[in-house]
Subunit: 356 residues, 2 copies
Amino acid sequence: MKILKNDAYIRALLRESVDITPVWMMRQAGRYLPEYKKIRAQAGDFMSLCKNTQLACEVTLQPLRRYPLDAAILFSDILTIPDAMGLGLYFTTGEGPKFHFPIRLKADVDKLPIPDPEQELRYVMDLARTVRKELAGTVPLIGFAGSPWTIATYMVEGGSSKIFSRLKGMLYTEPATLHLLLNKLTQTVILYLNAQIQAGVQSIMIFDTWGGVLSGENYRIFSLNYMHQIIEGLTRENEGCKIPVTLFTKGGGQWLEAIAETGCDAIGLDWTTDIGEARHRVGDKVALQGNMDPAVLYAPAPIIEKEVASILGAFGKGEGHIFNLGHGVHQDTPPEHVRIFVDAVHRLSKNDAASG
Amino acid sequence: MKILKNDAYIRALLRESVDITPVWMMRQAGRYLPEYKKIRAQAGDFMSLCKNTQLACEVTLQPLRRYPLDAAILFSDILTIPDAMGLGLYFTTGEGPKFHFPIRLKADVDKLPIPDPEQELRYVMDLARTVRKELAGTVPLIGFAGSPWTIATYMVEGGSSKIFSRLKGMLYTEPATLHLLLNKLTQTVILYLNAQIQAGVQSIMIFDTWGGVLSGENYRIFSLNYMHQIIEGLTRENEGCKIPVTLFTKGGGQWLEAIAETGCDAIGLDWTTDIGEARHRVGDKVALQGNMDPAVLYAPAPIIEKEVASILGAFGKGEGHIFNLGHGVHQDTPPEHVRIFVDAVHRLSKNDAASG
């Protein structure tokens, strides 16, 4: 059943043939766009914007009006879950997200509720339903969540961190408490993502922004293991279509073989890994998403085009490449450079993909 | 010529047999020690402490009075070089190092002087001479510098950074200017490290703290290439002894084979890389330093001992392991846990190493 006019993104995730390499950008709805800043000012703080269905829908669609992107992604945040658990999320200028009630003790974990996605997180489902309607089948809609480990970093540290002293202290001194927390988050993420799928998202991304700060062994025990459980708990089909799942561990380039074993459809790569070597390592087990350094978008057109060509060339011919940046687009990126980037991916991949 | 009572650290770097696995810690002289804080308060700000030979010598020796460490490292900073180049280094509480005159344009790079290590950086050489005298041949003294790329991050960003927008902007839009800067820094680092060797340091470490934020290709072009030049420019022997060189790129686990090709004697590993796999990859080309997560030192004795045993086991029998943390010791580490750590390395490696 073909319900999408442009299904290149879904087809590439499933390693089916495509005419062009599909492209989207992590944080494609965001502060580099002047029209985003306008809506954001109107909404007030960041979470108020996330919770305002009409405005969140508007900013979700903004980048698609400007650029021929091959997917939309819900405008939301990985911290909606701890917010729904009652940790009191707030944002400070310059310091990022903070929690009034961070998790420090086993008793804190015991008290944590499992939020009902259609109650405490209903605004995300409303957004998915609204965006799907607005997209009218033009491109697929991506839903997402943070990995349990990554969400836990914020919940235990009480905000952003460089060295994760509290969480790692818990990992090494009270691993049972950490596992209890990660289990609750895993249950919550499964409910949350399945609700997003029911609400209409057509692909899932799991962002493991901080898995890369772990040792290989601890990455498998405290992060990958729980993402694996999530994948097994997800509804992988809806409306007669497969729902592909992408895992992205920033700094996870050393562990691609293990990530590919989880049953995910695609692995997101940051720019420190050569995409050609990555493909060689994972074979045709999974598709690959990535992986241009977002800083390339500071450069003029010829450099952007050269880098795009270099990544397309490194991936090589054949199926299974979704172009993206290796992390979110930087907020001081010139919007016109994004157009150059998106156009370059489409133009330069056209011949290769067609013959691939 | 045996000029050291305990030369286990040097022998391990040269992959010669040792009775125990030698151990030291990055940032072993520092804020986790109450006696350090006392001297620091006496000295005033951080750079005043670095420039005060007697006090800097005292803090260099403090950890060796407490623990049976197998090496001393000069108490200094990788930013002594840009400070000597006249960038106006200062430290702000909570935000780390800053420069009054960051490097933004080619004209800024053109104006940069190459400091004479026995003039502008004489305080570092005086410190090396003083510490060597005080150590009286007990353990070797390590000298160090930052990698050109890592020093450049601070010089161009004007301080610490998360995403290195300015430097990466320069890399992609004005690579010739960046190469000019990296060339000047390379020349400076060679002069600086050779002067340290003349002043008595017996081993060299190059800290590439930020090489890991580059793509593999750019890592080779903008960081590794210059470290390679430094290694080729160093005096590798003094007082009849070899001067081993260790390269440490944090986040460089994907590029160990390339690092081993530079002619360095050892590679420093952070904790994201399995040391057994690393050894398998580099063969007996180089020794390996590392690589326990510094956060393990938050844990009680049995956990610390288990982690030490696990890393010793992963490295396996045979020569060429220098135990260390995967990055600097955290400032909130309990000092008694460091003793447990150092003792565990010596005790648990004794039998293995003897039979290795």
